[in-house]
């Protein structure tokens, strides 16, 4: 599985917020896109997931332009978790996860099996019959992730999967994402705000600034105060702890 963005320009209406972006997601990789608010991270993710058309440029999946895929065909290869989604009142966890099987035509038994494996993978089997809207934020995010997992994708696009979650749940969700990535070989392209979390959980990080990719590389290559100063306009200290690079903001 190869996934590549080539010379993407895009934005909203006529306003261009992404200019000539090219990036590549290698099989089995977790890549995180970072940048200040409004820099086009989410737009980039939407274009990558065909939720939005680019002004120009192409998104290639296995060297094929994704705009040529049939909708269902793409949905069987790629799943997207938007920042928020509407969850109908009264919907049960297993009902929501079952919708992840919408792109597939299959027997009820097969759907049931996929629901169960998604519940297990997300460690939420005990929530199966609960009402989604009544769950805590962390539980709900696991359920949403379980739905995308039930889609059985090769590529997972996540838009700020840890927003609205407390610190413990943020780690739990990212642990689960990494587990999916390592155990099921799902490649992940995600947007995060938290530099430390991104650094801990990503194979590669990409910084966006002024419509373009400012720099990209492994956490060790890009977690540097001068880069973060250029991208976010803040002073930071980078701390090493157990081989992980963490970022401590010290203000302007």
């Amino acid at each position: 599985m190869k996934f590549e963005l080539k010379n993407i320009c895009g934005g909203y209406g006529k306003k261009e917020i992404l200019q000539d972006i090219s990036l590549r997601l290698n099989p089995g990789e977790i890549v995180t896109v970072l940048g200040s608010n409004g820099c086009g991270k989410s737009t980039l993710l939407k274009i990558a997931g065909r939720l939005q058309k680019p002004f120009s440029g192409t998104v290639l999946l296995n060297d094929q332009d994704i705009s040529r895929f049939a909708p269902g065909e793409l949905a069987r290869k790629m799943a997207i978790l938007p920042q928020s989604s509407e969850i109908p009142e009264g919907m049960m966890v297993e009902e929501l996860i079952a919708l992840g099987r919408f792109p597939y035509r299959e027997s009820r038994a097969k759907t049931k099996e996929m629901i169960n494996s998604a519940l297990e993978a997300m460690e939420i089997t005990h929530l199966q019959k609960r009402i989604v809207a009544a769950l805590s934020g962390g539980e709900r995010q696991r359920v949403r992730l379980a739905m995308t997992f039930a889609q059985n994708p090769e590529i997972l696009l996540l838009d700020e999967p840890t927003t609205f979650l407390d610190i413990k749940c943020q780690f739990e969700i990212l642990e689960l994402i990494r587990k999916l990535n390592r155990e099921k070989q799902i490649s992940v392209l995600m947007v995060l705000h938290d530099l430390s979390l991104a650094s801990v959980y990503s194979d590669r990080m990409i910084f966006l600034k002024e419509k373009k990719i400012y720099c990209s590389g492994t956490p060790a290559e890009v977690m540097k105060p001068e880069i973060i100063r250029d991208v976010f306009g803040i002073e930071t200290q980078i701390i090493e702890s157990n081989g992980k690079l963490l970022c401590l903001a010290t203000g302007k």
Partner: protein, 341 residues
Amino acid sequence: MEQNTEKIKISFFRETRGKILFAAALLVLLLVLMFFSWTVQLELPPISQLLFPKAGEGDGMLRKILMQIRLPRIILGALTGACLAVSGAILQGVMRNPLASPGIIGVSSGGGLCGLIVLLFFPQYLNLQLPASFAGAMAAALIIYGLAWKRGTDPVRLVLAGVAVSSMLGAVSGILMMLSAEETGRILDFTFGSLAAAGEEDVFRVLPYMIVGLLSAFYSAGKINVLALGDDTATSLGLCVERTRFLLIITAALLAAAAVSAAGLIGFVGLIAPHMIRMISGPDNRYLLPVSGAFGAILVVGCDFAGRMIASPGEFPVGLLLALLGPPFFLWLLRRSRYEV
């Protein structure tokens, strides 16, 4: 981890067995109601005699009442109720708005206005009232869809455009009614919704639209479930959002148009029937659509029946009784359920 047992307990009617039982119970209730409404206040000869009357035997008048007056009325009532309820369920799902219904988004008022125009200005072509209401309802749906379009549609814009158009069309209908006070009786029947004038030919005229509408609605029910998650999530699950939304709105309009043209402006069923079923059995549209259809049929047949009983030998229009009796039942259910919209 502390677990709230109250929340974990899922109502019996959410389980597969409960759902099947509930649907079956509704169907039986509908059939019983239809049968009573059909035969009430008549002294029936044995059924064999009714079905196969021997020459010179049997009561011609009785047969006429049963087969030509009551049967079309009851069938039309059931179909109308089903169409309105299914139309409402679709619109609530597609617009992701609990207040959406054929009455509120303008489809009914478009059909109502055209029906009224025929009734008032072309009474000699009264048999055109049905196709005219139908055309009006569909036209209103398309106008609303067009007005809400701005690089794609958005559920909120759709509802707001619908409310605005609906209000205008209603006002025009109101002006027409003011100008023709002498026709009050028939206008009232039409605007409150009544099955009094239903005849055999009406059944056959709307039946094809209703069947096409209902079947395509049931077929698309799974897509409404996906659409309800929001445009982005639905797209990423491989649904063509714009196309599906358009087709569903047209289906809802078709159903509402057929209902309005058959029975006038019966309100409320389209709004409350889906909610009542949702409160009991949850939001899965594959179940919700057919079952709220059955429930809508029960409401209309039941209220038509009640309207004839209460005011006998005259009758109250079914729409009036529905609007009177529906809300208390609805509110009772609303208070009882844990349903939060």
